[in-house]
């Protein structure tokens, strides 16, 4: 399907205008919205993630690809909702309290969206109560916590503890990430998962909501 190939290429190349054009063309041709997402946007963002891992793509290239993907999703999303398609999962994502770093978190949020998730992005410096509020209000089944400083990593534990204290720990899966975070730390604080890259975050998220 030439339009999907063009869309795939537009996302890889970080060309949001071409992505918009190809998306409109694909819809006009009758390509189902879900196919656009799972058959094109998801594999395209997976490839972008792979290139980042190999250091072919850096943060700017990732951001441009995410921009193109989001431009396409903006068109597809209302059609998906209208067709009654359910998202793969609902994830509340944010950088924990005290930490203002968000580029990595933004990339993961984009990748999750491209991966078929409904993403509720709370931004940075998010207190545990806000995570709980959003997860409850939006019926999220996944919470993703980001931290970039060893000084703010303890906020990950307080957030998980807060879910526990509120009696909500069983209702959500909680995953953690960020440069100084490790599997060992994730295990120590009782997180359900840890990933060390934006690409593997999507795979982990899919696994966690399927369980």
């Amino acid at each position: 399907m030439p339009d999907l190939e063009k869309l795939h290429e537009a996302v890889i190349e970080g060309d949001w205008k071409a992505a918009v054009a190809a998306t409109h063309a694909a819809i006009a041709e009758g390509v189902p919205p879900l196919t656009i997402v799972t058959g094109c946007l998801v594999p395209a963002m997976d490839e972008v993630g792979r290139r980042f891992e190999c250091e072919e793509y850096f943060v700017p290239e990732m951001l441009l690809s995410a921009r193109a993907m989001k431009a396409s999703m903006a068109i597809v999303r209302p059609l998906l909702a209208a067709s009654g398609a359910e998202p793969v999962g609902r994830v509340v994502i944010g950088t924990v309290k005290g930490d203002l770093h968000d580029i990595g978190k933004n990339l993961v949020a984009s990748m999750l969206e491209g991966g078929g998730f409904e993403v509720i992005d709370l931004g940075a410096d998010v207190a545990p109560e806000r995570f709980i509020e959003a997860a409850t209000a939006r019926h999220a089944n996944l919470v993703a916590l980001s931290a970039l400083l060893t000084v703010t990593m303890p906020s990950m534990k307080t957030t998980i503890d807060a879910f526990q204290a509120a009696g909500l720990r069983e209702k959500v899966k909680i995953m953690v990430g960020g440069a100084p975070v490790t599997q060992q730390y994730a295990d120590a604080i009782g997180a359900d998962g840890y990933s060390d890259s934006a690409g593997s975050a999507v795979a982990l998220a899919r696994k966690l909501v399927a369980a």
Partner: protein, 242 residues
């Protein structure tokens, strides 16, 4: 004692001052600013290289002028000579004089950018150490030049938005500033970014205890030969493991 100090160059003035006043004989080596941008494991490898260059039997201990630094000291192994590391997350804690003071200040002052003499004057013209930071200090013109008008502008906005999320610049004043240019530069940077500005008195006593050999367990972790430094994920910041 004869001691070897391997320190980040960001602490240049403070370490030289401390060593000059130490009762011990301290040999100093500075490593480049910004190793933390490489990521935890690559930074640890670089510091391990410096540790491994230290001849056996020459020193009673190797002192590290670092904190955990984003796990850049995690996994560092003492070979034939013990390693001594302050229980600090990073150099800002060291300049403030205690882990508790840093923690309290950090929590009550979210969105703060820290500066000191070393943060201002060291590492200027630093070669991009890693792709992880590529693009974050480029100008709008440079981004447009590389990515075109539309994408360039978008990237510049995305990658500098963090500046709007920071609200304050705190200059940690140690008393070692030879003249007013450091404060002036820090104040100027704050004004340029639209942040508020604070001059915070630093406290060099912790660094002093490092080079004076006063290594209480509360403030320092000591790795005996064969042991490794590790993140402890608690208020003690670091621990040793075999």
């Amino acid at each position: 004692m004869r001691l070897k100090l391997i320190s980040c160059e960001v602490l240049f003035r403070e370490m030289c001052h401390a060593c000059a006043h130490s009762p011990h004989q301290v040999d100093l080596e500075f490593l480049p600013k910004g190793l933390h941008d490489l990521g935890g494991k690559p930074m640890a490898a670089k510091i391990q290289e410096a540790v491994d260059r230290t001849p056996e039997g020459a020193y009673e201990a190797i002192l590290l002028g670092y904190g955990l630094c984003g796990n850049g000291l995690d996994g560092l192994q003492a070979r034939h000579t013990p390693l001594v590391l302050p229980r600090a997350h990073d150099c800002i804690a060291l300049l403030m004089g205690s882990h508790e003071r840093y923690q309290a200040y950090f929590e009550s002052n979210p969105g703060t950018y820290y500066r000191s003499t070393g943060w201002l004057e060291r590492g200027k013209g630093l070669q991009q150490l890693t792709h992880n930071t590529m693009g974050f200090d480029e100008s709008l013109e440079a981004m447009i030049g590389k990515y075109g008008e539309d994408n360039g502008r978008y990237l510049f906005e995305e990658m500098t938005r963090y500046r709007a999320q920071y609200r304050k610049l705190t200059f940690i004043e140690t008393g070692l500033e030879a003249d007013g240019k450091f404060v002036a530069e820090a104040a100027g940077e704050a004004e340029e970014r639209g942040w508020s500005f604070e001059r915070l008195p630093g406290d060099l006593a912790w660094l002093g205890r490092l080079v004076d050999g006063q290594w209480t367990d509360a403030e320092f972790v000591v790795a005996a030969p064969g042991q490794r430094i590790a993140a402890s994920y608690d208020a003690r910041v670091v621990k040793v493991r075999t």
